[in-house]
Symmetry: C2
Subunit: 298 residues, 2 copies
């Protein structure tokens, strides 16, 4: 199969590498507005060829959009106008608006909205690497609105990436990612800003930071180019989730200030239940890799 990847950064580059190495794609055509990224991607073996968007779409069987969600919103309708029999998917973090944008397109059934739940805080072709998706979960939204064959191709693609597929409504997807992905990023950005602000007066404050700080703030390295459009497209859900997070922080603050030790103990003991979730996740990831290998062999 010939696969075009639009956007050769962390996500697009990583998917291109594994689809080629694992035999899903016979050829990867790369498309990138940034000539430097296109050049790097060719050099790093991410793409076999670099082409312009129209030529790439016309000469491939599968088109994968891996660009910021704002750019997706502009490009997806244009790409749908170009396709004949091609299947189109995107990997963006928000789904409702994008699906709405081509709801009445005559080729709608050839489009499969997806979101692989994997990434790092780095960006660009040099951040791309094999194995980024191994063991993780990929969401396919509103599968009933796509051709069954198209959905099968995309789920095969995710199994090649050693992922498990979860099918859900776009509205549920956008609400849930606000909790487990978008909120984590805002909490890290805000933590970074709070301590950087303090650094202006206390120059050596970061001397004291240890591994725990690094861990909670790591995502604050993520780029505005990618995240501002996500926050914008998902503002309805993010507003609600941020309010709940702020309320919980306020609860901590009140109980600490009122010497309510038992109340603080209760909050921490409840929060500790995350151990169950993280242990379960670890087991699921190992299981997913095993199952994905089995499915591919079958």
């Amino acid at each position: 199969m010939i696969v075009s990847v639009i956007g050769l950064g962390l996500i697009g580059g990583s998917i291109a590498l594994d689809l080629k190495q694992r035999g899903f794609a016979d050829k990867v055509i790369g498309v990138d507005n940034n000539p430097m990224h296109a050049h790097q991607a060719k050099k790093l073996g991410i793409a076999d060829e670099i082409q312009d968007l129209r030529t790439a779409v016309e000469s491939s069987h599968l088109v994968i959009l891996a660009i910021p969600v704002s750019a997706c919103l502009k490009s997806l309708p244009q790409i749908m106008d170009m396709v004949d029999q091609q299947i189109v998917t995107d990997l963006g973090s928000t789904k409702e608006q994008l699906i709405e944008s081509i709801a009445n397109h005559p080729k709608r059934k050839q489009y499969v909205p997806a979101h692989p739940m994997a990434g790092t805080e780095f960006s660009g072709p040099q951040a791309a690497h094999s194995g980024l998706f191994d063991g993780k979960c990929s969401i396919i939204c509103n599968p009933e609105d796509s051709d069954k064959d198209a959905v099968n191709v995309i789920s095969d693609m995710f199994h090649t990436l050693q992922m498990r597929c979860v099918y859900m409504d776009a509205e549920v997807h956008d609400r849930q990612t606000a909790y487990v992905s978008h909120l984590s990023h805002i909490s890290a950005f805000a933590l970074s800003l709070t301590v950087l602000q303090k650094e202006k007066k206390d120059k050596h404050i970061f001397e004291l930071a240890s591994g725990g700080f690094d861990s909670t703030v790591r995502l604050a390295k993520s780029s505005a180019e990618m995240w501002t459009p996500i926050f914008h497209q998902n503002k309805k859900n993010i507003g609600k989730v941020l309010q709940k997070y702020i309320d919980t922080l306020q609860q901590f603050k009140d109980r600490i200030e009122n010497d309510d030790h038992e109340g603080v103990d209760d909050l921490i003991n409840d929060a500790n239940d995350i151990r169950r979730v993280l242990d379960e996740k670890e087991r699921t990831e190992a299981e997913t890799i095993k199952n994905a290998k089995r499915i591919r062999r079958a």
Copy 2:
């Protein structure tokens, strides 16, 4: 040198292992209120002997307190009453109240308040491991109030652990750790609580969580036994820091809800400056290990 370690959990156990392995301690005497922990510590080679507090203090040259800060506040004055020539240190996360509690003790100069900036989200003797402190920073507070020889022993101890020492006023220490350590923990606890609350209605919400979520929430596994007393003892600083964090989150929320894309870009671009800090930290940690080895050889 004979070293007594009071509290054989993650911190006490890890320090005992490396002080013995690296030749700083000829013998480690362990003390723990929890007989199970004492038994495990003996079995894991953390302590050569288990003794009661008074016998341990009386038969050692150096006494290290590695217990929750609330327990420290009770035990330190009792231990200072027991010592003859012994040097005493503690490794707690808050310093002002503890120092205040023995400010007028006749043996005050034999006490060196310290805080090694290292840890994990796990606890108990089984979480203890060699190398926990390598490359990190250790704070020694108000060194002018301790005997010079006592300070030298403690800084030698930290160099054995391959740490660098930073000297500062206890008041500055408590303010700065509120930013770079205590806030990270509360942000993780609150994040955990926010998503766990949502899980009650959306059972499969954690299916979507990926590495970024794990990273920001990891510290929420930490125990109430350790953290409630820290938040209590440092409530003045934590209250202020939490308010700044909440204000920054509110700023994000307002800008996202008002479609102020440029304003959100500005916040994220400013937060990205954390890259400089984290890169610098990585360099410093490598340098610290090199220097600590050089100092020990000299």
